[in-house]
């Protein structure tokens, strides 16, 4: 596999921090997630699926952003824990963290300290505002970043109060940027032997995905428009139309005269009609049809249409079934479980990736096998609470 032989020391947690390590794991790297029971990964917290007691092993979201990883539960703020990590990093190619800036430094495990042990280390530090700048201490959720970066200002119904993007987009967005930068740095390390410390700010990653608005504001002045379901100009029309049934919709994009003609022929109306007239006719046509059916008929006529789908629509749909978008897995604690597969297909195939780890599942592997510590030493680390 692509990253066979690459080992990752992964302090990443919650969502944005967990995904870069998972991406490297998808590509064949061995990823060791460093966890502590003193402060559980937020994704391990929630209501249980089996029984009534809180259980860090029963969180599907955790299972979806930590697939294929190993877990080492260690109190890395203790002296013995820190030593263990410093020893472990010599066996690792990559480190990932998304604590608040300075946290790892204060634990004696910052980039400089780690790179002393492993000079060609490639490390990703990901945080809301980045490692430098007045907002480096910013406490942020994805929604905080969406507001700060201007992402929110583009969403909503034209001419109304803003609504924000109402999703965690800045998390997966920053983590994908982080994974991309890690791969580039691994590529260079393979060529040159040089390590790297990469600083990704979620705020800047958010700004990068409103790049055209940034350029437009500076070159043209004025605020970029809130277009809602409309377009930025050029298209004949684009719309989100009601279909048969409750809360059922289809989106349609008519690029130009060619698309208008296709839609008009499908509906049996005058192809020379105005875009408004054709859109009007189409919205009547959609009311009598199921949203997926409307999409498929329009697509068969060569028109870009997309059913607005909910989680159930997609899960049961033959297209996603056939591409294996969701994988059925067995989890030792909760049993049958669906997870996402990786976002690429290689010659139509997907990689073989294991499940997310139980807490501390790989303590023995890491300490005994990888670091070659004795059984007595291992037992001592467990007794003293260094390994949890």
């Amino acid at each position: 596999m692509r990253l066979d032989g690459v080992r990752v020391l992964d302090f990443g947690w919650v969502w944005a921090g967990a995904v870069p390590g998972q991406m490297l794991g998808f590509l064949g790297a061995e990823v060791i997630k460093v966890e502590t029971r003193k402060r559980l990964d937020y994704m391990r917290v929630g209501r249980p699926i089996v029984g009534t007691e809180p259980d860090p092993e029963q969180q599907p979201m955790f299972h979806n952003v930590n697939r294929g990883k190993r877990s080492l539960t260690v109190d890395f703020r203790s002296d013995a824990g820190r030593e263990l990590i410093l020893e472990l990093v010599r066996h690792c190619d990559v480190a990932i963290e998304n604590f608040a800036p300075g946290v790892l430094d204060r634990a004696g495990l910052g980039y400089e300290r780690l790179a002393e042990q492993r000079p060609d280390l490639v490390m990703l530090s990901l945080s809301g505002g980045g490692q430098q700048g007045p907002l480096r201490e910013l406490r942020s959720y994805a929604s905080t970043i969406a507001a700060y970066s201007g992402l929110d200002s583009l969403a909503g119904y034209p001419g109304e109060e803003p609504i924000g993007i109402q999703q965690a987009y800045p998390d997966p967005n920053a983590s994908l940027h982080g994974a991309f930068a890690l791969l580039a740095a691994i590529y260079r390390r393979n060529q040159t032997g040089l390590g790297e410390h990469i600083d990704v700010s979620q705020l800047e990653a958010g700004l990068a995905t409103v790049g055209e608005a940034v350029v437009a504001v500076d070159l043209l002045g004025g605020d970029p428009p809130v277009v809602g379901n409309g377009g930025y100009g050029g298209e004949a029309f684009q719309a989100c139309l009601r279909c048969r049934g409750e809360d059922s919709w289809v989106t349609v994009q008519a690029e130009g005269p060619e698309d208008l003609r296709r839609i008009a022929e499908l509906l049996g109306v005058d192809p020379a009609g105005t875009p408004e007239a054709i859109e009007q006719a189409l919205s009547g046509w959609c009311l009598d049809r199921d949203h997926v059916e409307a999409m498929e008929v329009l697509q068969a006529a060569g028109v870009a249409a997309g059913a607005v789908t909910d989680a159930g629509d997609r899960f049961h749909h033959p297209h996603y079934r056939s591409r294996g978008t969701y994988l059925e897995t067995e989890h030792p604690v909760i049993g049958w479980e669906m997870v996402y597969r990786e976002p690429w297909l290689w010659w139509g195939e997907t990689g073989q990736v294991g499940r997310a780890p139980l807490m501390g599942e790989d303590n023995e592997y890491v300490v005994r096998e990888l670091l070659g510590r004795s059984a007595a030493d291992y037992a001592h680390l467990v007794e003293t609470g260094v390994l949890q």
Binding site: A147, P172, A216, L219, D223
Partner: protein, 398 residues
């Protein structure tokens, strides 16, 4: 970082162009091959190139070829062995170039002919499955990916239950697909170092979108189908203040306590109906009424400053120009000036990576003009003389 990587990009949408921009930003040589004579559809044929094109194509060089012309296709075949990566946002190259009656170049077969070539193809629904080949745009892909279904949720949905779901603006689906394609390209290059062989990487914009959509899917597997009526944090969110809006989300207990302290411990907050997080969620609408009342008389930047010093996340709701003007962005150098020969000088987001040891990512070159590097690239890559290139031009092949 990617100084020895050669990328050929044939794109008509945001996704492959953004992937090319990312690779160019880390130093790869990215050559954008545009259809002749119209050029990339995100250009404006009648005026200066729009901001979207200027942003997506920094750091690239540009050539044209007419793939409807046999000599134009021949050019493409001669170029391919010179490149490590082909980025393309369709599964058929000829079709992408608006050619209805010419043979397709099926991109998934290209690595068979060019064994070291990595082909990364983005498409609305992927290269396989019943929807393979379906058309898509930012608008339709965003909504089909599930997040559109849920946008316009919560209070807004209560006020206007009959309105359609709404788009998020910008090109979020395109950017996510491009990022996924760029990581796929690098992964395949790393693989090639082991195997000596390229491969075909299939990136579905839907799959890229769906990976943003984890939470609703997890809840669905848990037996709860999220809708616009049920979606959303039960309190907090975007709130009007005296001179704008703020985003407030006091999810954790200590954040809530901090916020209550900031508000001067009002009496309402001591009500037992708001005692725990669960209680507050149950009475979310009332909590929000109180919060909105308090925010309404205060200034946005004052609230934001409080948000930076307290545990409670309060964020100013910035327009794009305000997001560009922060001291934080200035100090980090989040933006760079790029002088485009036709559009003039302007601010562009810098690649969102700061590097500790290897210098900054490179992306200062402005987006290229249509065919700006045709003579240079065909000369240096294919060893063609100016006369040969002129000959092709006169035959309409480029």
């Amino acid at each position: 970082m990617l100084g020895d990587v050669q990328v050929l990009e044939v794109s008509g949408q945001v996704s492959a162009a953004f992937a090319g921009k990312l690779l160019a930003g880390f130093g790869a040589e990215v050559v954008k091959l545009e259809r002749y004579p119209a050029g990339d559809p995100t250009r404006d044929p009648d005026g200066p190139d729009p901001a979207l094109f200027l942003f997506l194509n920094t750091g690239k060089r540009a050539v044209t070829a007419n793939l409807a012309h046999p000599d134009g296709r021949e050019l493409l075949y001669r170029l391919l062995p010179c490149f490590d990566v082909l980025l393309v946002d369709t599964t058929g190259l000829a079709e992408e170039h608006g050619v209805e009656h010419s043979p397709e170049l099926p991109v998934e077969r290209l690595p068979e002919q060019f064994p070291r070539l990595v082909v990364v193809a983005t498409s609305p629904f992927g290269a396989t499955g019943p929807y393979h080949g379906f058309a898509g745009s930012e608008h339709t892909i965003f909504h089909a990916g599930g997040e559109g279904y849920l946008l316009g949720a919560g209070l807004l949905h209560e006020q206007f239950p009959d309105r359609p779901p709404v788009g998020a603006g910008g090109h979020l689906a395109g950017y996510q697909t491009g990022l996924t394609a760029a990581t796929g390209a690098l992964a395949a290059l790393l693989d090639r170092d082991h195997t000596g062989r390229g491969q075909f990487v299939d990136v579905s914009a839907q799959d890229a979108q769906l990976s943003l959509n984890h939470l609703p899917v997890m809840r669905f597997f848990d037996g709860v189908l999220e809708t616009t009526a049920s979606r959303g944090f039960t309190f907090g969110g975007v709130m009007p203040c005296a001179d704008g809006y703020v985003e407030v989300l006091p999810l954790e207990e200590h954040q809530w306590q901090d916020l209550v302290g900031l508000m001067g411990n009002p009496q309402w907050a001591a009500d037992e109906r708001f005692a725990t997080g669960r209680d507050r969620a149950r009475h979310g609408r009332e909590v929000n009424q109180h919060l909105r009342e308090w925010m309404r008389t205060r200034k946005r930047d004052q609230l934001a400053a409080i948000g930076q010093t307290s545990a409670c996340p309060i964020a100013p709701y910035y327009d794009v120009d305000e997001a560009m003007a922060t001291p934080h962005a200035r100090e980090r150098g989040s933006f760079q000036r790029i002088d485009h020969p036709r559009a003039g000088p302007g601010s562009y987001p810098r690649m969102p990576f700061r590097l500790g040891t290897g210098g900054e990512p490179i992306d200062e070159r402005p987006a290229p003009g249509l065919g700006e590097h045709t003579t240079e690239i065909y000369g240096s890559y294919l060893g063609m003389s100016a006369a040969e290139i002129d000959g092709l031009r006169s035959r309409g092949a480029l």
